[in-house]
C-alpha cells in the first residue's frame, strides 16, 4: 500500500481507484467523496478516463504483428523481420497508401474528362473507393468466420470431404470461380470439407483443412475481376490468425490459419499451384 498523504487529490483518488491506499486512507478518502462534490466530480473524471483508456488500448491488440517476427521467434535466426515486415492488413496503412493513388486516379480521370466527358470521369471516381473498401472488407469477414467455424468440433464444415466432386460443382457455380480442391497432404493438411460464406456481400467458397495437430486452415476465394492480377503473396497477421492472400484468374484467394504456424506461405503456394 502507498502513502498518498501530501500528494495532490487527483493522485490520491487515482491510487484509491487502484486499491493502492491503506485502510485508514481509504476510509478518509471515502468520507471526503461523500461530503465534497468537487472531489466526487474529480473522482468520476478519473474513472471516466480509465474506462476510455481501457477501450482505446484494447484496439492496439487488433493490430497485425509482423509475420516475419513470429517466424523468427518460432524458428530462430535466419529470417529478418526488418526485411520482411508485413503491414498489409493495417487499415490505416492501406488508407495512407491507397488514397493518394485513388486521388491521383481521380485527377487523371478529370483531366481525361476534357475529351471523354466529365460524367465518365465522375462515375469512375465513385467506383474506385468502393473497390478499395471491398478488398479490405472481405478479409476482415473471413478472419471473423474462421475464428467462429474453426472452433466447431462437430460441424466444422457444411459439406464433408467425402463429397468432394459435389463441392467443386456446387461452389464453382455459387461463387463463379472454377477450381479443383487442392490436396495438401504433402503439407500435413487433410481436407475436411467446405462451406459457402458471404463476405463483403459476395459469395465466398471456403475449403477447410486440418493439420495433424488439430489446427484448422481454410482456403477462401471469391470472384474478383476488377482487382489487380498478381502472383504476389501478401502475408499478414490478425491477432491469432495468419493470412496469405493472392489474386489469380479473376479471383481473390486467401489462406487463413494459426498465426504462429511457420509454413503459411508454403501452403499458400502449394494451394495456388493446384487450385
Amino acid at each position: 500500500m502507498q502513502q498518498t498523504k501530501g500528494h495532490a487529490l487527483e493522485v490520491r483518488l487515482s491510487a484509491y481507484i487502484d486499491g493502492e491506499v491503506g485502510e485508514a486512507e481509504r476510509t478518509e478518502l471515502e468520507a471526503l467523496l461523500a461530503r465534497d462534490e468537487d472531489a466526487k466530480a474529480l473522482f468520476e473524471k478519473l474513472k471516466a478516463g480509465s474506462r476510455f483508456g481501457d477501450t482505446a488500448f484494447e484496439d492496439f491488440l487488433h493490430d497485425p504483428v509482423p509475420l516475419a517476427l513470429v517466424r523468427q521467434i518460432k524458428q530462430g535466426p535466419g529470417v529478418s523481420p526488418k526485411t520482411e515486415r508485413v503491414t498489409a492488413t493495417a487499415a490505416s496503412v492501406r488508407n495512407v497508401r491507397i488514397w493518394p493513388r485513388v486521388l491521383a486516379a481521380s485527377v487523371a480521370l478529370v483531366l481525361l474528362g476534357g475529351s471523354a466527358g466529365f460524367i465518365i470521369g465522375a462515375a469512375n471516381n465513385v467506383g474506385e473507393p468502393a473497390q478499395v473498401a471491398a478488398a479490405r472488407g472481405w478479409l476482415d469477414d473471413i478472419a471473423d468466420y474462421h475464428r467462429v467455424y474453426s472452433r466447431q468440433k462437430e460441424h466444422l464444415v457444411e459439406v464433408p470431404a467425402s463429397e468432394a466432386p459435389k463441392i467443386e460443382t456446387w461452389l464453382a457455380s455459387s461463387v463463379g470461380v472454377p477450381f479443383k480442391i487442392p490436396q495438401l497432404g504433402g503439407k500435413g493438411l487433410t481436407f475436411e470439407g467446405a462451406r459457402l460464406l458471404v463476405a463483403n456481400g459476395k459469395p465466398v467458397a471456403q475449403l477447410v483443412y486440418r493439420s495433424a495437430e488439430g489446427e484448422i486452415f481454410a482456403i477462401c476465394f471469391l470472384k474478383n475481376t476488377t482487382g489487380p492480377q498478381s502472383d504476389n503473396f501478401d502475408e499478414s497477421i490478425r491477432d491469432d490468425l495468419g493470412m496469405v492472400s493472392w489474386q489469380r484468374g479473376g479471383a481473390s484467394f486467401v489462406l487463413v490459419g494459426p498465426s504462429a504456424h511457420v509454413g503459411m506461405q508454403d501452403i499458400a503456394e502449394a494451394a495456388a499451384a493446384t487450385i
Partner: protein, 172 residues
C-alpha cells in the same frame, strides 16, 4: 544449456505475448516502425537470455523491463548521434511530446489520441490500468519511482477524460 523443448515452450510463450509486447512498445516509441524494431530486438535478447528467466512472476514483466531498457539505450544513442551529448534518460522528469508521435498515422483515432499523450503517461496507464500491474511492478518495469508512477497515472487518467469530449467532437 536449456533443453530444446523448454526453449520451444519459451518461444511459443513469446509469440503469444507479441500483441501485448507490441502494444507496450508502442507506448514507448509512439510509432509502429520503431515499436516493431524494438519488439524484435527485445525478443532476440529474451531468447538469448531465456536461461535467466526463472519462471517466477509474469513473463511479460521480465520482457517489458528488457524492452524498456533497450528503448532507453536507443534514445540515448539517438541523442548522441544528434549531437546533443549523453543524457540520463532514466532521470528525465520533464515530459515532452516526441516529434515522431505527430507523424505517425493510424486508422484508429483513439490510438492516435493515446499516442499523442505526453511521454511516459501511456506506459504507466497501460501497465496499471489496463494490464493490472501493481504500482511496485510498474515502477520496476519502467525504472521510475513509485511516486512518479502515481503522478503520471493520475495525469494520464485526467488527460484521457479530456480526450473523451475531443473524441466525441471529432466523431460528430
Amino acid at each position: 544449456m536449456r533443453p530444446a523443448a523448454e526453449t520451444k515452450d519459451f518461444r511459443r510463450d513469446l509469440v503469444s505475448l507479441l500483441p501485448k509486447l507490441r502494444r507496450f512498445a508502442m507506448t514507448l516509441t509512439r510509432n509502429a516502425n520503431d515499436a516493431d524494431d524494438l519488439v524484435q530486438e527485445a525478443c532476440e535478447r529474451a531468447i538469448t537470455r531465456s536461461h535467466l528467466w526463472n519462471g517466477e512472476g509474469r513473463l511479460e514483466s521480465w520482457i517489458y523491463a528488457m524492452t524498456r531498457n533497450l528503448w532507453v539505450d536507443e534514445i540515448r544513442k539517438r541523442k548522441v548521434r544528434a549531437g546533443s551529448g549523453t543524457v540520463d534518460a532514466l532521470g528525465q522528469d520533464e515530459l515532452s511530446i516526441a516529434p515522431s508521435a505527430e507523424k505517425a498515422v493510424y486508422a484508429n483515432q483513439l490510438q492516435k489520441m493515446i499516442l499523442s499523450m505526453p511521454e511516459g503517461l501511456a506506459s504507466v496507464f497501460l501497465l496499471v490500468n489496463v494490464e493490472g500491474h501493481s504500482y511496485r511492478e510498474t515502477a520496476d518495469i519502467l525504472g521510475i519511482p513509485i511516486g512518479t508512477v502515481m503522478s503520471r497515472l493520475s495525469t494520464a487518467r485526467l488527460r484521457l477524460a479530456a480526450l473523451i469530449s475531443e473524441n466525441t467532437e471529432r466523431r460528430a
